[in-house]
Symmetry: C2
Subunit: 451 residues, 2 copies
């Protein structure tokens, strides 16, 4: 079988998912899967009470089947596809979730909620769930690699558009689909892949993230029942990659498959803002902590960084917390003023505060030689003095990753902020011991709010 | 307000939907809405027992809420969004449904099932349902006009991608959303618009059609609850039209809005095949009816027609009934052999028969001056003789429309083929009297199979 035959790449991806042995997944990759799940449970706590989630819950609950699955941080329950939808929305709502740096996909939001909802309703061993997570993460990130950078730049919300394939393959792995079932899953998912960058910072963004989880699950469930699509849904002449891509890199789909693991490259965010802002916030917090620094003496700030920093975050006039997550002007203003950049720094109230106090005037200097994780910040003060902060590898980047205990602390802080009354330590322990757990669904019951 | 202000076009479309008066809809347009609904109920009978529908029903029914809505031609019931999903799939599965010639959108499949499912669960007057149908049809066809011809040619299944906006606006009209609610509906729908031409002829195609109905409904229900998107979801820099289009024709969205009615241009299909095949089948049937014509004497056939005829139907080697619906080779073979081209001519068995007997070798002559509804067919016989059939306006085209009684006969034939035991005459009467009906949902109860 060569990649030139129609559907050969699809069958190769499907064969990988159908035959991957748990023992063949390196320990470091298994551990990264657990870190991803720990982080996503935490970010779901952060988003679970947001208006978008509550409104979506109320709109959808009349159309839920048997409520066999939990909602993280909430008391309500829903059927597994709806729970996947709502937990995915909650996990990603602040873009505080994990990040695959090469594509800026948030791999876990569409994927983990689908797996956990299924595992709660159907007996699932922890190792099977982790295996499914690794398979799903591999597929969504490789599809993202094949489409990047055109796809996101064109306006696609890549977490949603690629994520549906991750959820489909992940649930397909739990269902132990045969190779043909995974090919069918690709077709069933390809026809419902959607999501727009235009919607970032609005409630609508969360619909496509939730759909990726729910419809990915349904794509696999349909495939299990023999519901099939075209033989080459990704690589066909009118297939997904040609329609959603410019010059898709087909080799990125299969090179090193089963040897080189994308989920092993996952990263986690210390701040609830666009990942390109991480070094900027690091630099601002560092300056704010310097003895004698006074934010009201700032006249202007120059930022030298990767062009994406300017493209995605030069938003001086944001009015809401959600818009502010991708505003360099607000992020710097609040970090300099408060010396902190947690969720409360990106509330509507915090945004109103920086709008009233005045945000710094920024000059962006595009430098494609800078990695996303680096920035040079030069602050000019009212007396003409300049002070500088250089960040070479932002907290949470691949070079400066959050530690396991950082992730635990992040989850605990987010659970506390959500007034979670469950046992956070048991929840954390359940994630770290997933490899040997008989019942992976226990995580969901531990993460639900107590009635 | 000018169209240059961000979101001005969206607000204009929303204002139209929010304020359109029933009395302002011309009688001919109201009647075309009823013809559309009559036709779509018929085509739902044709598809309701297909494997794709049955499999989708089984996969989704565990996740249905209260079964308040009927499935056309079936005994099962589902919640309104799921009923909309399944009835839309059934209505479009054979592409035997209506056709908006300028875009090749099937306007009713995503739209009417959403409206009828809602009307069955919530008291709805017939005039309100027709008004909602006209509003939804207007929006989806205008969005299609703005994106055509690039969008479909690029690989988008336009019935699905545009249809979700139709269903959203239609259900929004039933909910009597205010202007801002329709703008939100556009954003909620834009982030979940999907569907690929690659999937035509496979079960997966039906997922995106069903999604258009169900997710369009949910887009409006979310908007009713204050779930909002960006201010310019269609026309923004990363909005729907820029991402899914090449050089979108913005004027097509609003020029003549409320005066020039797209649903008034709807057409209906006499054959369950791609609409570009209609003149070809007319010609073949005409030849088959000529005294002394013997299909086994055909050596080759030349077709002069619009380039889309070749692009979409030059498929000599199809193996299944669904693929054969867009195969000129099969359509001609079966029409010449049988002198008929109903649903049974596009069954798997009929396809196997033409494959075994040999299909004619076709030569396509692209002529962009030909309308879609015209073709010249020149048949060369084994003795060298040629015979010709010219079709200037295919049956079912705008120039040669199916009559009301043609549509009634089509529905009756499809109901009979589905072994429907309900009262077809009452059902037909209920559609024709929708203008004055107190309970539009009665159509659904009349169209359901009796237990």
């Amino acid at each position: 079988m060569t990649n030139e035959a129609p559907g050969a790449i699809e069958r190769q991806l499907a064969g990988f998912a159908a035959t991957l042995d748990w023992q063949a997944i390196p320990p470091a990759v298994r551990h990264e899967a657990k870190r991803s799940i720990l982080n996503i449970v935490g970010t779901a706590f952060s988003g679970c009470q947001e208006a978008a989630v509550t409104k979506a819950l109320h709109a959808h609950l009349p159309y839920s089947g048997k409520p066999a699955a939990s909602l993280i941080g909430r008391q309500e329950r829903a059927d597994p596809p709806l729970a996947a939808f709502l937990n995915a929305m909650a996990a990603n709502i602040f873009d505080y979730d994990d990040n695959h740096a090469a594509t800026i996909i948030h791999p876990s939001a569409p994927l983990a909620p689908a797996l956990l909802a299924w595992a709660e309703a159907a007996p699932t061993q922890g190792a099977d769930l982790l295996r499914a997570f690794v398979i799903g993460g591999e597929i969504e990130c490789r599809i993202g690699n094949a489409l990047s950078p055109y796809h996101y730049a064109h306006g696609w919300h890549i977490t949603s558009t690629a994520g549906i394939f991750g959820a489909g393959f992940g649930v397909g792995a739990l269902l132990r689909l045969p190779e043909a079932g995974f090919v069918a899953t690709l077709g069933n998912a390809a026809v419902q892949s959607a999501g727009l960058v235009e919607a970032l910072g609005t409630m609508s963004k969360s619909i496509s993230v939730g759909n990726a989880a729910r419809q990915g699950m349904m794509s696999a469930l349909l495939a299990r029942d023999g519901f099939t699509g075209p033989p080459a849904p990704l690589t066909g002449a009118r297939g997904f990659l040609r329609v959603y891509g410019d010059a898709p890199k087909l080799a990125a789909l299969t090179d090193g498959l089963g040897a080189d693991w994308e989920i092993g490259r996952n990263t986690y965010k210390p701040y609830p803002a666009g990942v390109v802002l991480n070094p900027v916030i690091d630099a601002a917090l560092e300056l704010a902590a310097r003895p004698g620094f006074k934010p009201d003496r700032v006249q202007g700030i120059a930022l030298r960084g990767h062009p994406l920093l300017r493209e995605r975050t030069d938003r001086p006039d944001v009015m809401t917390g959600r818009e502010a997550q991708v505003s360099a002007q607000h992020a710097i203003a609040v970090a300099l003023a408060d010396g902190a950049a947690g969720l409360d720094a990106f509330s509507d109230a915090a945004v109103a505060r920086t709008a009233a106090a005045g945000r710094p005037t920024l000059t962006f200097i595009d430098d494609p030689s800078y990695p996303i994780a680096a920035v040079d910040m030069t602050v000019t003060l009212t007396d003409g003095e300049t002070i500088e902060a250089a960040v070479r590898a932002a907290r949470g980047s691949a070079e400066n990753p959050m530690t396991d205990s950082d992730l635990e602390a992040k989850l605990k802080a987010l659970a506390q902020r959500a007034a979670f009354t469950g046992d956070v330590n048991r929840l954390i322990d359940a994630v770290w011991t997933l490899d040997t757990a008989e019942d992976a669904g226990a995580i969901m019951r531990l993460a639900a709010a107590r009635p």
